[in-house]
């Protein structure tokens, strides 16, 4: 029986495990094919654990909010009522402005910008690793999600789907050190690429040397990478290196990645605007 006891053969077992790891790493580093099957199977299985844990934590949080935090909710309710009243006034002004814009658009024969179709999903888990920034969502291929679909939040761009399985998907956050998005500076229209740093900030590269960049400029997606639709907010320029060099520009993301609970997935390109619609009106 001693032959079967792995504790008697620790050194051999250790060597076998290390060699197994080296083979596993080599297979991935050399391969240029799609997603490894092992990754898909383990992610699919653990996504269910994450879903269950997220549900338990969600229920506990909901219970806390419903039964113990009523006072805070009452205060929030008062604040929200006040804010709603202010927003209603603002909405009336903006409705008038929108009408004015529509009239001008018609005059200039410009096509209307139509928002791309999206699907909502809940965040069920974050990255299990300290060095990469990913998260898991509770929608997958069963809900029509595919690899490389853009993930956004009301505040701006979140990331892209890198591994969809049946009932869940892994999202690479824009702040991940392997993430990138084609972008432009809203004010000067200078185009470049926004890169994740692995920390909480982003950086912008490949900008033309003559680009006009200022601290506080808003950075939006340019849409030329074929993943992120045009015009979604990425963040705001936090610092520009001395001399205005394009490398080393730091961007503060518009999205607070630590408090994301629900996201939207852009499930298709924006519907083509129909020229006959305007004529029919």
């Amino acid at each position: 029986m001693a032959l079967l006891d792995i504790r008697q053969r620790t050194g051999w077992l250790f060597m076998a495990v290390v060699i197994g790891h080296i083979v596993l790493i080599s297979a991935q580093v050399n391969s240029r094919r799609g997603v490894p099957i092992l990754e898909e199977v383990i992610f699919g299985a653990f996504a269910e654990v994450q879903r269950a844990t997220a549900e338990v934590i969600g229920n506990v949080r909901e219970g806390w909010q419903n039964y113990f935090a009523l006072q805070q909710i009452r205060r929030e309710n008062e604040d929200l009522k006040q804010r709603m009243a202010q927003l209603e006034i603002r909405m009336q002004t903006e409705r008038a402005q929108a009408q004015q814009t529509r009239t001008l658009q018609e005059l200039l024969s410009l096509s209307e910008t139509i928002a791309p179709p999206t699907a909502a999903a809940n965040v069920i888990g974050a990255s299990a690793d300290a060095y990469f920034r990913t998260m898991s969502i509770d929608k997958g291929t069963m809900d029509g999600l595919r690899q490389d679909m853009a993930v956004v939040a009301p505040a701006g761009v979140v990331g892209r789907i890198i591994l969809p399985v049946k009932r869940a998907a892994k999202v690479q956050l824009l702040i991940d050190r392997n993430a990138a998005a084609a972008a432009l500076i809203e004010r000067s229209r200078a185009q470049g690429v926004v890169l994740g740093t692995g920390t909480g900030t982003l950086t912008m590269a490949y900008l033309p040397g003559s680009a006009d960049i200022k601290v506080g400029d808003r950075v939006v997606t340019s849409g030329i990478d074929g993943i992120y639709p045009k015009g979604f907010v990425i963040g705001q320029i936090e610092s520009v290196p001395r001399g205005g060099e394009s490398s080393g520009i730091v961007i503060k993301p518009a999205v607070d990645f630590s408090s994301l609970e629900a996201v939207l997935i852009v499930t298709g390109p924006p519907p083509a605007s129909d020229g006959t619609t305007d004529q029919a009106r």
């Binding site: 077992l13 290390v18 790493i25 383990i42 888990g125 990255s127 060095y131 990469f132 909480g200 630590s258």
Partner: protein, 166 residues
């Protein structure tokens, strides 16, 4: 029984790392609860338990991140094996030796993990010393507190039982 406890510790650490730490502002970068669990398992079960828990926990962590599967796992396997072997040779039950183990395990893990990425030309880590230092400190605190809580549990339960009998 020890292996069942090890399995529970790893599963709990993975659930904590992936679920609760996303509410922390700096994401999961400041702490590696899974590494703490691997070190705990290695110190309580030995090199085989440490190595296997490192492999399993590392593989799951790798598949949940966007990196190469196997690099984090290899780092945790090495840490689990070495900590387990060290724990069998020396007495590591006092606070200071345990603190040293947690700090050394975090440093070794970071060195293997980042070293492999740099050697394979997949990543560049610019001045990671501050991040490793803070992670080692947080991991050590969490590890020491976990040890203290787990070790005081049987005594506390026994005292409670005695009080009830009276």
């Amino acid at each position: 029984m020890k292996f069942a406890g090890a399995f529970i510790a790893i599963a709990l650490a993975l659930a904590l790392q992936t679920t609760l730490t996303r509410f922390v502002a700096e994401g999961t970068g400041a702490v590696d609860v899974v590494l703490v669990a691997v070190v705990y398992v290695a110190l309580t079960t030995g090199p085989v338990g440490g190595m296997l828990s490192g492999t399993i926990a590392g593989l799951i962590q790798d598949t949940l991140s966007s990196g190469v599967i196997g690099i984090g796992s290899l780092a945790k396997t090495l840490v689990g094996f070495l900590v387990g072997a060290f724990g069998q040779q020396f007495i590591v039950t006092a606070t200071l030796p345990r603190l040293v183990m947690f700090v050394a395990a975090t440093a070794l893990h970071a060195a293997v993990f980042m070293g492999l990425y740099v050697a394979l030309g997949l990543q560049v880590f610019s001045s990671p010393w501050k991040a490793i230092g803070s992670q080692a400190a947080v991991n050590a605190v969490i590890g020491l507190v976990s040890f203290a809580v787990i070790e005081s549990l049987p005594g506390a339960l026994e005292r409670r039982r005695t009080r009830r009998r009276r």
